[in-house]
Symmetry: D2
Subunit: 463 residues, 4 copies
């Protein structure tokens, strides 16, 4: 039996980032490695392959690239697209080819999301010289296309470039070609992505809403009218990834348990408490002033809420969560994690320390209030503007969660109690914790939020 031509995915949860290890004949390539690269080495060893090639489909902005570290550990060469003054690796362009056993990888320049964007076409030479799959980075997703808001001065131009990349280069590869993008549903790099990870160019050509356009101009028009948020941490990622200058990750940080006393001391010294528990637990009892970022939301929201210079102090519900939290944080450059609270909230409580509690409001209670025209409470909707526009509670005030840190003063000016609100209650809990941290005390969280309001039939305002 011939050796397997393998394609393995490595998911970075939260970031909804997908990297790939592909190989044949004792060689492997990694596409878009994340910062912690052990998973790639494990896969390569399983297939007895040497990692010889690393491809970056573009200068990633939402996480630190692991390409330099992976190169150091394996000796592989790094390849990027043209158009950037890279601090490391080699530049490739259209039609450059790389053979790994029977696998042939061909470069396709697919700019638009960024100028340096490339796609990697996979050909199984044992069968044909036609492509069987393509790795599209952030050019083409399942159900969406890449965002084109990174060059505000060239908005129409780059949207047009993306159109050309997709319609002139990718789709012509053929309906039968399998599609492997760099992100799945939940990424900040696009919206409307499918909650599914298998598709083909033909399926997307026909059913990806972003491709159902009249013409190039229509496509450009739609892209330039989209609204995207850019988390503040992106600029640091871009800097790192262009120059290969992120600190080498030879070891994962190893935060130590801290007694309540040491924990309080670290808070007094300026540390920020990040409570990784679920909103219900955070509402029940928490360390005063702590920020609630449920573990799986760290990759998406930490970059909006945490300062790189402030040491992070964790509250977890189980120490098993610490290594996961560490990976989430270092992937986006937060390397300073000073410790975690020994025995969690229970340890804190048994020392008789102060606890912060938070009220929760159910959708039914909210509905009653709205129907009674009681306006004493302000509903603060922290979803993205697109979500808000497509349906929200009457009189709800909108501030996107990621912008809340800069708009705290507005929040302080609100009269009366605030009920935080989002899609399901989890971002609302983050918002509540942030408000409380800034001294706004009359805050409650609407668990269930939009999903629950729909389920029980609240009236909605569109736009």
């Amino acid at each position: 039996m011939a050796e397997k031509m393998f394609l393995e995915t490595v998911h970075s949860e939260g970031l909804a980032h997908i990297s790939y290890v592909i190989g044949h004949g004792g060689q492997a390539a990694v596409i878009d490695p994340r910062r912690d690269t052990d998973a790639y080495l494990d896969i390569a060893r399983r297939y007895q392959c040497r990692i010889s090639h690393i491809f970056e489909t573009h200068k990633n902005e939402d996480y630190i690239s692991g390409a330099p570290d992976l190169q150091r550990r394996t000796g592989a060469e790094i390849f990027h697209g043209e158009g950037l003054d890279w601090g490391f690796g080699k530049t490739v362009s259209d039609s450059d080819e790389f053979a790994l056993g029977d696998m042939l990888l061909r470069v396709l320049q697919t700019p638009g999301h960024t100028d340096d964007s490339i796609s990697i076409v996979l050909i199984d030479t044992a069968f044909s010289d036609a492509p069987v799959a393509v790795f599209t980075g952030d050019a083409l997703f399942l159900g969406d296309v890449g965002r084109t808001d990174f060059y505000p001065d060239r908005a129409e131009e780059v949207a047009g470039l993306l159109y050309d990349s997709i319609f002139e280069k990718l789709l012509p590869l053929g309906d039968h070609v399998l599609l492997y993008p760099a992100h799945g549903a939940g990424s900040v790099c696009g919206s409307d992505m499918a909650a599914r990870e298998f598709s083909s160019l033909g399926y997307e050509r026909r059913f990806n809403a972003a491709l159902q356009v009249a013409d190039r101009a229509d496509f450009i028009g739609r892209k330039t009218s989209e609204h995207h948020y850019k988390p503040p941490y992106f600029s640091r990622m871009e800097e790192y990834n262009q120059h290969g200058s992120a600190p080498a990750l030879t070891e994962l940080p190893n935060p130590q348990p801290m007694t309540p006393e040491a924990f309080q001391q670290a808070i007094d010294n300026g540390g920020v408490v990040v409570d990784l528990r679920e909103p219900e637990a955070f509402a029940g009892a928490a360390v005063p002033g702590s920020l609630n970022i449920p573990l799986d939301m760290v990759p998406v929201y930490a970059g909006y809420l945490l300062d790189y210079d402030i040491p992070i102090l964790l509250v977890v519900s189980s120490t098993d969560e610490v290594p996961t939290a560490v990976r989430h944080l270092i992937r986006i450059g937060y390397d300073r994690i000073d410790g975690y609270l020994h025995d969690g909230l229970h340890g804190w409580a048994t020392e008789g320390r102060e606890l912060q509690t938070l009220s929760v409001v159910t959708a039914r209670q909210l509905k009653q209030q709205l129907e009674s025209a009681d306006t004493s409470r302000t509903v603060l909707d922290v979803r993205k503007i697109d979500e808000y526009s497509s349906g929200h509670l009457e009189n709800a005030v909108h501030v996107f969660l990621g912008e809340l840190p800069r708009r705290i003063d507005e929040m302080k000016a609100i009269d009366g109690p605030i009920v935080t609100f989002c899609g399901s209650g989890r971002r609302a809990s983050i918002a509540s914790s942030l408000l409380r941290r800034h001294g706004i005390t009359s805050v409650s969280t609407n668990l269930g939020s939009m999903a629950a309001c729909i389920a029980i039939g609240c009236d909605m305002v569109v736009k």
Copy 2:
């Protein structure tokens, strides 16, 4: 190099039960196996040993013995002590010996905790015919001795038997002999056990408080004045373990996720919701009427609170907890676990269903109230009577948690709000959930409880 003479412990968390796999020369013995026996097979395979002997130090009352299942899976013989009409296995008595490679196991009858109690003396014949270690079951623990309250009509007699077993049979083995009992700290089979698992007969002879007695009469006097609780589920375990009649455990139950709708349906059909989350999370938001038993407390308190005929419905914070909960429950005979709530509380909340919340009270708040002589709230102390007697808050009402189900009517008769209280707040949360389940609504939980009160310096009454 000679093959290793191994001694591996298998802990059943919560039960604080310790079983042992020992072996040499390709053969192994298991001492006091629990119901789920896969761990023993894994250890035996690691050492390439055939499990040939199973010893039961006594008819265990706090969990289902795995001896019959382990016999079925390995062909090993089962050995018990005299004095019971056993439904399976063989009976051994003083000086019976079994050789496994260089390891010689000698039976020592050590009645007192039960009539059939035996200890197993381990001799390494490669070095000496003197004992090097002894497995004492529930006769002698680290820091305590076995309880002797199982034969109320023969209280003094059996206490005396235990004295003889310890002072005439075990201690004479020699100070140098290592001690391996069937339970560690946290077990319901004794109290005052050391939070340590390594000791010797000599260390216990000198520093085990229960052995520092004037004479046999003194020992008997102390033992007969002890107070122990006997959970209602013990009688079922005893029945099973005497006759080997527990259902064969060929597969672990496999509870399925249930939609909120199916979950509600199952509640309506008579199921009991057991919420395994931490007290803080339970306080924050819970399914109305659910019972809070934090996962690690299931082995000790489920047997007081759950009926064998009522299907169990789980609420977890992570699906990883389901297999652990299943093992905790089947070890004490709860095989009917119908499902768990899909997506937990978050799934429940996003459907807009009703939530139950619970107030928490801090030790500081309690202290203030007590100092202000505010008597509107009743402190309900649910610790064991021994804990209560050694120090409690003034005017605290005492009802042991295990007795609470039968004393709900008394609780309903209490005027005004109730604050539940225990050692650290976790049993208090169980109590609060039970009161709420029975319609008592004005209930709050004192997180931290006794530990916190001591930490901040509340006044205590010693009974």
Copy 3:
């Protein structure tokens, strides 16, 4: 974020069998479950899904279906195709549909490989009512189509049915549709399969050699001229899988270590020793009379070589291999695995027992011999007839490994030494062990075999 629509593969190595767990919205379906079903339960729990549907694409002949056991453990319904008197489950036909969240599964009857063959079309209703993927069972593979030799009396008819299934039903689903068959490279259910697991209908339409036919007649002509082997164990699998009558697999067998003495005793009592080590190790030293089946070859060759009524005795290089061997064996119905040799060959040798050694011959030695026209040694080529026909050493005698047990007498009649030969030397080692077991002593194994001969440039005869 919406819940993920997942598609997970479960590989049964050796069988090259691929089963699938797919799901959405809290429900999951399993397609073609194998006998040991724990992997499906683990995946379902990871996604918090209830396994509600089980599909069998056809009555599998190469392994025992796990559908009945999986139904028992989950309550899921089982669905098969028409045309068989099934002993369990429900029969479905064209256009039957099943919804799991946004996922819609539609049945397509695709007979040919067997009459009851069905394919399952997957539609993501969130995007379109057009198919995105199809599970084709043994109708269409990557690089090949299913074998059609199971109804010898209807050879042309069923080949024609398969043509219709593929060209009239599957390919019309569209080039863009992803393809998920029940087998990959290495299966006995087809040949020429791709050493790759990702493809689409469009890619196969263009590059699958079996589909590049002039017309229906051409397809039928080619299929009916193929040669396939049918291992004797298939009939037992078919019997089991039609009636759901395989023994329930509540627990995996748990073979115990055996001392050399007990091992010899078990051999004397009629057991067969199966040595799972690599050919090099087997050549170096082995238990006399043992059969060498390297661990990963057990699924494919055990069914040719082992009798269901004879207890199996294992020799392993590490006890970690025992659980893998057990799974390999029970998947094809060998439940009687009596034990494994304690400490392997080393344990056997240190007791001074007899050892069997086997000579190895390198390709260079073979080449020299051939070039010197030395005909004293007979090269016994045990590959499949197709492999042999496409190139073999001059004067090599061909007997397919699977037929060797019935043709031992011919082998005994060969004069002079025999050199066994195959694709790379591993089947050759099995053959050598079989000849030795039957008293043919002058046997050596050509490590490297065909691959090595090609590498060093031996002369080859075609046909």
Copy 4:
């Protein structure tokens, strides 16, 4: 329930080294950490403890200490004994004490094995101020005492020091005290150790053969007449461990798979092939000139056989062995592991490359030869001199395996075939591979060796 006072062992297989993590109250100490320290961090996190103390019972000579790396990763302080010019850490002396929760650690200077040797006494202050356990490093083992041959000029003096340490300091702690040394059976740091890991001072006092002496002089006499081998790599370990100068181990080496061609190239460039497979497999077929060191024997014999400046090339039977081999090698300072052979021997053979085979001889064949007075073959016994002296085959030539590299010329001078011989055949295989590597072709390995000869009743010569 109080927090557990834990004692966890970390075994370094092959080295038979045992390190310990002990702790209470949120703090932990590590005793004698090895170079790869991840295991300690994992244990500490499991108990939510901060590693605050690192103790080195002496300057270890048989592996690289992980103390500096562990300090870097945790901030813990390092403590050693007096009498050395340490390049790092703090020096402690008799009666220095350290509290970790209820656990009190007291230093006891116990020189003899080395001048700086200390023992750590463990006291559970919750029960008593008497010791419950002691960590004795290389002073006192189970069944033996430490070797005292490291100061040849002061042989009697240091043997006397060890006597005093054991009889004046350790044993007086009391019979009841549990014993935790730094090595178990199989270590090069002593012989006659028990194949058991649980004992007490009282048991050793009575049954440890090395302690059954008439008086101090008798003890000294015995110790100074012992024979120990000192592997050449010890001096590098001593240098590293005194100065803390071993390279920091931030990442484990990550050897890559190599094609047969690249492997041959690396051999030609001076690399040494280390074949980690079992002797039977090595005998069956091997890369010409390779050294056979079965995986578990690497820690003990690599230091005799491998040069630090020569790159190591591995042959494994499974890639799972690579990480284990890497750990074995880096623990003794072999950091340059250039790669492993892709697809092992099978990959080598299928390229038609040359194979080396080795004859094996059974004990029965050897016996026959000896009984027939056939002296054509030389039996080369490579055991330790003590083993040889206590019983060997007549006319067997003795050269300890560790000395064989320096005595190859003598071996070349032997007339006729050589049969290598040891305790069970595994060291014999190493010896055979070494002889073959140096051009001695007529070599065979006696699988089973001494153990088999005893089993079948060969005549033995004592002394």
